[in-house]
Amino acid sequence: MSRPLISRKPGRVALPPTFLFLAGVFVAAWVLVSLFGRGQFLSAANITNIFIRSVALGIVALGQSFTILGGSIDLSVAHLISVTAVMSSFIMQGDSANIARAVAVVVAIGLGVGLLNGLIITKLRVNALIATLGTGLFMQGLLSTSFQNFAGAVAPEFEVFAYGTWGPVPIPVVVLLIVAAIGMLVMHRTRFGAHLYAVGGNSEVARLSGLRTDRVLIGAHIIASLSAVLTGLFIAARLGAGAPWVGQDGVYDLESIAAVVVGGTALAGGRGGVLGTLAGVLIFSIMDAMFNQLGTGAFLKQVFRGFIIIAAVASYSFRSKEEVS
């Protein structure tokens, strides 16, 4: 790839090429549904539906973008989502008086997990894949030992997060867009964001140039964990309670990584951005909506989803001359 995916001019963010892929998928879905499907593809209800489908995966994938951009990865997010969903509904017990306490506790857990992941990776020099796999297994172990089923309930007021609307726009979609906007600000307009690109591009060079690479990576992991916490809160609000399997059932670890790389962020780090990730998530949601309207089953959808992941990445990697493995 000779062309940079994101223009580094301050304040100007070019649309990543994934949006071409997104447009292609959108048109293909529109045509296929119009020809063979039932219902309208281009209806307001359907477009809203596509966005709502994107919220849970979208928020955690936006956070995952930071770790991958920094050349790291976080496999613990799915387990952290389960921990958050269970702990928040367990602490709330259906009482709105407990909302603040529940949110404070899970945010603290998220901060702790992100910090721990970052420290294990940077200070103990454990490969990020192994480190976050380990912390994920550990969290899940503690959670599944303590809870076997849906625990507690979220407060009715809290369900607004999942079901409320703001004018015609659902609140979860507003939240997703706000998170994306914050993500873009942090990544493209702050010193931390610029440092993250540098660390992901070449950690050794960044370190020798005087960057505190460890701190940057720890920051990226804290962001990923906090985004997982937010997804966990959303899922708890949507389901009314959290169960210890909600994160793994959604395969949020691998799916968030897939969305990030489909969005054009290089797995090796240093190239990409949050806007591409949003496109990656929308690609998945559009395909889900399309397959639903075409009436194909969940499993055929899964077969295609795997190929789409490969095809999307191949579409901008195949011209590269670098060896990858």
Partner: protein, 335 residues
């Protein structure tokens, strides 16, 4: 000291057989010491473990994971990942029960078809990674999703049919009448054959050396004439083939289920790392990878004996792999 025997017997890289045992022990990577310690602890809690039948049933249960780790190591030393093996196992188990359709006469050609599917998956993974330059983490992640979807599509999402006895024999039966050992599970014989063959391929052939060179420095390997695409495709075929074998054993051992392969890919990668392999390539030994898989299984056996519930056992596994890798990293920095 009976416990150490199975691992050292699979050790194809060590020198003369007559070497004194303590000298061998001193040179062993730490994983063997850990494995030995856990096995001694288990025998202390359950003396039957330290008998020949006890070791045989342990190895039988560990065989699929150990074979999978052996296959995964080829991809790991080349610098890649193969995340598709878990789904491939599920596909092998579900697909076999569908194709056999209850008629034992179909078993043989179905097993042949499964190996062909495995080879096709390996070629696909390797070719897409080599020629389309998609990182193998993504290629095989895509295949993980696709193969699982395909397996579930085939059976309609629920386990259907059953596997006949002549298929399940490999995973759960034993060969009797072997002098000195009485009976040996098929799975243990298969594990032994796979371990020796894999050890030979990785450590004694030019392909194995090229694979390690490729993982160590892909650019240097290519410039010095390593046919990188062919070498890498070979690694993915080895990994997929090991998944097919593991699938046949698991199908035999525990029957048809839709989640038989879930998470196996991460366990296999953990096992290779515990055995001293370096993620992103360049280093790893077959004996270590297999010992890593046996250690994880032994650890589960031990915690089970100690009465730990399954979720806590999984949790401790997480701590152990972090600790092992942190220890290796620390030792490396010190030297």
């Amino acid at each position: 000291m009976n416990d150490a025997h199975p691992t050292t017997a699979q050790e194809p890289t060590r020198g003369a057989a007559g070497r004194r045992w303590w000298e061998v022990l001193r040179r062993l990577p730490p994983i063997f010491v850990v494995l030995l310690a856990i096995c001694v602890w288990i025998s202390f809690l359950n003396p039957r473990f330290a008998t020949v039948p006890g070791i045989m049933s342990f190895l039988m249960r560990a065989a699929p994971a150990a074979i999978l780790a052996a296959g995964q190591l080829f991809v790991i030393v080349s610098g890649g990942f193969d995340l598709s093996v878990g789904s491939l196992i599920t596909l092998v188990v579900l697909g076999s029960s569908m194709l056999i359709g209850g008629d034992p006469a179909n078993t043989w050609w179905v097993i042949a078809v499964m190996f062909l599917i495995g080879m096709a998956v390996g070629v696909f993974n390797g070719a897409v990674t080599s020629w389309l330059r998609v990182p193998s983490f993504i290629t095989t992640l895509g295949m993980l999703v696709t193969l699982k979807g395909f397996a579930l599509l085939w059976t309609g999402g629920a386990p259907r049919g059953f596997l006949p006895n002549n298929f399940r024999v490999f995973g759960r039966n034993r060969v009797t009448g072997i002098p000195g050992l009485e009976e040996v599970p098929y799975a243990v014989i298969i594990l032994l054959v796979v371990a020796v063959a894999a050890g030979y391929l990785l450590h004694r052939t030019g392909w194995g050396k090229q694979l390690i060179a490729l993982g160590d420095n892909p650019r240097a390997a290519r410039l010095s004439g390593v046919p990188t695409a062919r070498v890498r495709i070979g690694a993915f075929i080895a990994s997929s083939t090991s998944a097919v074998i593991a699938g046949i054993l698991l199908g035999g051992f525990s029957g048809v289920s839709t989640n038989v392969g879930d998470g196996q890919e991460l366990s296999a990668i953990s096992a290779t790392v515990l055995g001293g392999a370096k993620l992103l390539g360049g280093r790893g030994t077959m004996a270590g990878a297999i010992a890593g898989a046996l250690t994880l299984q032994a650890l589960f056996t031990l915690l089970n004996l100690l009465g730990w519930p399954k979720p806590l056992r999984d949790g401790l596994q997480g701590l152990i792999i972090i600790g092992a890798v942190a220890y290796t990293a620390w030792r490396e920095r010190r030297s």
